[in-house]
């Protein structure tokens, strides 16, 4: 509490320092082609050499002493807009800027100002430009944000076919993925082959790996903030693509010109259209597809009020003729209201609904099973930005989320002698409430030093109604025999909304940038994060149907402290960017599974889980070329991710599944002409940790491997080369529509990267044992897609 008061005192000093006679220039910066607000556009007051950048909605505010100033609005790749503004009183100025004709031939790497990486206090941040994502060679030619992220330093994946992504040693559940501020729990289609984000509907994506601002919380390792397009306010347009296995279409346009617009985007795979031609009846009656539907409407009521309504709906469906079926999908809805209380105080009020549901089952003549689980949440939050003066930008707000976890329930039937017995088993649904308040300031001190400091205070409560089991000594794991199963000795009943268990704590955040000169800077950051929900998985790689469990009586929230330092240097007038970052993270209260843990339909899940700590540290290097005919980057990460769990490996550290010592990515894109582009990417990663047998035994005629050292070995290294080419079939200078032919090949040289390596006896001669490698995408996979826009 003492530290909290100290921080409030500092903020009050900042605010008191602003109470002079000053005037404020504020407004929105928009794309003159679409009327959409531009994120991170620069607004510079030349005479003062002071400026600001627009926020996520394109809003800016800068407060200066009265006078006449030259104001420049700029955005990389766009023609700057310069205007003389007479600032004798507060002025609202909306600026529209457009593509630079002189820069049309150049490839834009980021939407930031040219030296944003040097001047911004942010570090460990990766901003993805969707145009660049579309040029990276992708599986089946589908522009994919998540796969593109995996080519960035500090981001890895367990392997081909693994869902999600891992950031700086964090598990996939430690990424807060926000789609228009709504949390997305599973970012993957088809077990990680494609992401759920349709690139045609996405305006901006930003990944925070460290130095995470106070306004974000609830996950330990990263924030992926994705913003959908708002819809063209000026004219109707359509974008789409027709591929061999899926197609997509996006429609956008004004509802009321320059006032209100809409965007609707859909994508569906049709892998299963060939099934009816298969000779096998099982295949004939099977289904395999995914779809996404994005929609958004925005309405500018007046200069001070703007409303957005956005939604997402997506599902994966796999049904092998009732033999095995699985389905999972996200649904999100976001209602936002931007309101300007004054020229300096921007606010955003958001109501969010999110539901992630997943199911498994089979349906046979004599027996069937239908297992379902879900996470539902309803959030309300308010975020404020106070543009105190050119040197201080204060953000504060509060978030509240109500969760309803359904960790799993099953209905089964068995038919025997024409008698059908049905069974119903439900794991107790768990309501929970999470709340947070935050306060932060980004402060410039002199011309070289920028600080960002803040604090977040979060709390979480698991709620009734329901029964909670009690164990001997309140320990669901017997410390003397940790592999044994402890049985409950009693139950405690909690009434509806009665608090079962609560947790809370402070999360300090700090970042600093010291600019050494125009082209280089050093940065440092520290953040503490708390995570109140855990993904419980004991499969080879996490799957979309793993269980989410909230912190409670026996499962504690995870906590991480991360420090990072970095050196940033640009060359040749910001054409080249380079960075080196070092980071160290210490995790507390992570959960890991017991050997042979039973996770499905388990009301005493806590008896199958161990709690432990972990650490991750590494060095990340990146070198980018941002402009010119040849663009791209090379990145290298040297890292280590370890877990310490007393009951596993005798308490010795063991590497996490996603620990990759070396991770190298090369991405290059070359414009041969303004109508032909070729691109290539190469990825190399150390093999993933895996458990190999130390010996074997024979029991009952079965030859079984003997494992004793979790993740004590590694699979062979992963590497892959992809190539792509895009041909613009219509000259963009002569027509106002475009048709592109995109072709390429994934895994050009057919590397057989292991998804898993497993060990089995020969079915006919049990004394013969063998090792097998299961590879996914082990052959070159070509693609051809036709994209259009008008």
């Amino acid at each position: 509490m003492k530290s909290l008061l100290s921080i409030l005192f500092i903020f009050s000093l900042i605010l008191s320092g602003t109470a002079q006679d000053k005037v404020t220039l504020s407004g929105y910066v928009k794309d003159n082609e679409t009327g959409e607000g531009m994120i991170a556009a620069t607004v510079m007051v030349k005479e003062l050499n002071a400026g600001t950048v627009t926020n996520e909605y394109g809003f800016y505010s800068i407060t200066v002493v009265p006078g006449t100033y030259t104001v420049e609005y700029s955005f990389i790749g766009f023609e700057s807009f310069i205007e003389t503004v007479d600032l004798t009183s507060n002025v609202t100025k909306n600026a529209e800027i457009g593509f630079s004709q002189t820069m049309l031939d150049e490839v834009v790497i980021t939407g930031e100002r040219e030296d944003e990486n040097i001047t911004s206090v942010e570090m460990s941040v990766e901003k993805l430009d969707i145009a660049q994502v579309k040029k990276i060679p992708q599986l089946l030619g589908e522009a994919d944000i998540i796969r593109s992220i995996q080519l960035l330093p500090g981001v890895t994946t367990v392997g081909e076919g693994a869902t999600g992504f891992n950031v700086r040693g964090g598990n996939i559940d430690q990424n807060l993925i926000l789609l228009d501020e709504s949390p997305v729990f599973s970012s993957s289609h088809l077990f990680g082959f494609f992401s759920v984000f349709n690139a045609d509907a996405i305006k901006d994506a930003k990944l925070y790996k460290g130095g995470i601002p106070s306004k974000y919380g609830g996950r330990l390792s990263s924030v992926l903030d994705i913003r959908q397009k708002e819809g063209n306010q000026k004219r109707f347009s359509a974008t789409g693509g027709i591929g061999l296995l899926f197609s997509r279409l996006t429609l956008e346009g004004p509802i009321v010109k320059n006032k209100a617009s809409f965007i609707v985007s859909g994508r569906r795979s049709y892998f299963d259209i060939f099934f009816p031609f298969a000779p096998d009846e099982t295949i004939n009656n099977s289904r395999l597809f995914f779809y996404d539907l994005n929609g958004k409407v925005n309405w500018t009521i007046n200069d001070k009020n703007r409303v957005f309504l956005a939604g997402y709906l997506g599902d994966d469906v796999f049904d092998l003729n009732g033999l095995f079926a699985t389905r999972w999908g996200n649904r999100t809805a976001t209602l936002r209201w931007n309101h300007l209380f004054s020229d300096k105080l921007f606010s955003n009020f958001t109501a969010i609904y999110s539901n992630y549901s997943y199911a498994l089952g089979f349906d046979q003549e004599s027996f069937g099973l239908d297992w379902k689980a879900s996470i539902e949440n309803i959030s309300g939050k308010a975020d404020f930005t106070y543009f105190a003066n050119p040197n201080n930008k204060i953000e504060f707000g509060f978030h509240n989320t109500y969760y309803y976890f359904r960790p799993g329930g099953a209905e089964a039937y068995i038919e025997s002698n024409d008698v059908v017995d049905t069974f119903n088993f439900q794991v107790r649904p768990i309501p929970a409430f999470e709340s947070a308040i935050y306060l932060s300031n980004e402060q410039k001190i002199g011309t070289r030093l920028t600080l960002a400091y803040g604090i977040r205070y979060s709390g979480f409560a698991q709620l009734g109604a329901g029964q909670v089991y009690k164990y001997p000594n309140d320990e669901p794991i017997d410390p003397e025999f940790p592999t044994s199963t402890v049985s409950p000795i009693d139950t405690v009943h909690y009434d509806e909304f009665e608090i079962v268990k609560g947790y809370h704590g402070i999360e300090p955040r700090f970042a600093a940038n010291y600019q050494l000169d125009e082209f280089s800077s050093v940065k440092g950051s520290y953040n503490r994060m708390r995570q109140y929900i855990h993904l419980i998985s004991n499969t080879t790689a996490a799957t979309p149907v793993d269980i989410y469990m909230p912190a409670g009586e026996y499962i504690k929230p995870g906590l991480v402290d991360q420090v990072a330092v970095g050196y940033f240097r640009n060359f040749y007038a910001n054409t080249y960017e380079s960075s080196v970052e070092l980071y160290y993270k210490y995790f507390q209260d992570l959960v890991d599974y017991k050997d042979e843990a039973e996770l499905l339909l388990n009301n005493t899940l806590e008896t199958e889980l161990y709690t432990g700590d972990g650490q991750a540290y590494g060095l990340e290097f990146q070198f980018k070329r941002k402009r010119g005919k040849l663009t791209g980057w090379v990145s290298y990460t040297l890292s280590r991710v370890e877990r310490f769990v007393e009951e596993i490996n005798n308490g010795d550290p063991y590497p996490a599944n996603w620990d990759k010592t070396h991770d190298i990515s090369l991405v290059a894109s070359y414009d041969i002409t303004n109508r032909i582009n070729v691109a290539s990417s190469f990825a190399y990663m150390t093999g993933r940790p895996i458990t190999y047998p130390e010996a074997r035994m024979t029991f009952g005629g079965v030859t079984a491997p003997i494992y004793n050292n979790r993740n004590g070995a590694r699979t062979p290294a992963y590497h892959r080369l992809d190539v792509a080419a895009t041909f613009n079939l219509i000259d963009p200078d002569e027509h106002d529509f475009t048709i592109d032919l995109a072709t390429g090949c994934y895994n050009v040289y057919g590397r057989k990267n292991p998804y898993s390596i497993y060990f089995q006896q020969d079915p006919d001669m049990p004394e013969i044992t063998r090792a097998f490698r299961l590879s996914i995408y082990a052959i070159p996979i070509p693609y051809l897609t036709v994209n259009f826009k008008f």
Binding site: D272, L288, F699, A704, E767, I768, R773
Partner: protein, 319 residues
């Protein structure tokens, strides 16, 4: 499926790996079993149909008269009951039959007291025979001196098993319902009270079915106290004229967990939903080194039955 074909077809292959050599350790496989049956207190309620207790007892007596366990032992390739077999672990890719451990000292304990010193079968090296008749409700464990070490198994509670009243061959659709075949169902019942476990052994034409995918076990989580008539525990198709002999054994939770682990680590591996590798924890400990040894010594009542598949296919509709 098209995607699955693209991604998975031909992508599963055998590879060569170098694994370090290890010191051999003791593996035990032992069973203490007798025909000790659990009978209900009264008539059995089979989903509204009453099966008189007298009929159950009579059926059990007929089955016992029909099934000669000794003859099965003499003809079968594998018959583990009332024996303790000691072998050694080997290097994973050694690819040879495990070495047996002879001249060990093996003692059987009942409720903590020695009741028998097991004698090694002169014709089957490494196999030690049990002659002691167990008592329901007693706990049994083994003390072993071998390889210069002292070993001990954890205690196993010996309990009775419901009789395997029927073993019936039925002709019908297979699992994926695209053809018909003969399948075998069992008729039995489950002991009232949660926490029971069972294992079934199958001999097809007197040959023990040792495929790890066909290790057949269950607990009573969803069947507590149920009448299990027509219960499906052997999923494989049977050929015309086959004979199938089944043993139903009462299993302790430890033995059930061991078999479950044995099966998941050998039969269900490599796929996206499969468990990652894990130790298969048995109930034998090396007291000299303080480390776990391997395998399991199990105790529990056993019942048996057999059936013959007809030589003809009945006239029924099939998909």
């Amino acid at each position: 499926m098209a995607l699955a074909a693209i991604t998975l077809a031909g992508c599963q292959e055998e590879i060569d790996l170098d694994l370090p050599a290890t010191q051999p350790e003791l593996v035990i496989e032992g069973y203490l079993t007798q025909r000790d049956y659990y009978f209900p207190n009264g008539d059995l309620d089979c989903f509204g149909t009453t099966v008189p207790l007298a009929d159950i007892v009579l059926a059990t007596q007929l089955v016992d008269a029909f099934i000669n366990i000794d003859s099965i032992e003499s003809e079968a390739d594998y018959f583990p009951f009332n024996k303790v077999q000691l072998t050694l672990t080997g290097d994973y890719f050694a690819n040879e039959i495990p070495q047996t451990v002879s001249n060990a000292s093996v003692m059987l304990y009942e409720d903590g007291n020695v009741v028998e010193t097991l004698i090694e079968d002169p014709n089957i090296p490494g196999t030690y025979r049990i002659t002691h008749y167990p008592k329901i409700g007693s706990e049994y464990h083994l003390w072993i001196q071998a390889l210069g070490n002292i070993y001990e198994t954890e205690r196993e509670l010996y309990e009775s098993v419901p009789p395997l009243i029927g073993l019936t061959a039925n002709y019908g659709p297979n699992f994926i319902q695209d053809s018909c075949a003969y399948y075998v169902n069992i008729d039995t019942y489950e002991k009232p009270g949660a926490g029971d476990h069972y294992r079934w052994f199958f001999y097809l034409n007197n040959e023990y079915d040792k495929r790890p995918g066909f290790i057949s076990i269950t607990n009573d989580d969803n069947f507590d106290g149920f009448c299990l008539f027509g219960f499906d525990v052997y999923g494989d198709e049977l050929e015309l004229g086959d004979t199938l002999t089944a043993f139903q054994m009462n299993a302790t939770e430890g033995y059930f967990n061991f078999l479950s682990s044995l099966q998941s680590q050998t039969a269900f591996v490599g796929g996206p939903f499969d468990s990652p590798p894990a130790p298969i924890r048995g109930n034998l400990n090396n007291l000299t080194t303080g480390k776990p040894a391997f395998g399991y010594f199990a105790a529990g009542g056993i019942s048996a039955n057999a059936t013959a598949i007809p030589d003809t296919i009945p006239d029924v509709d099939c998909p």
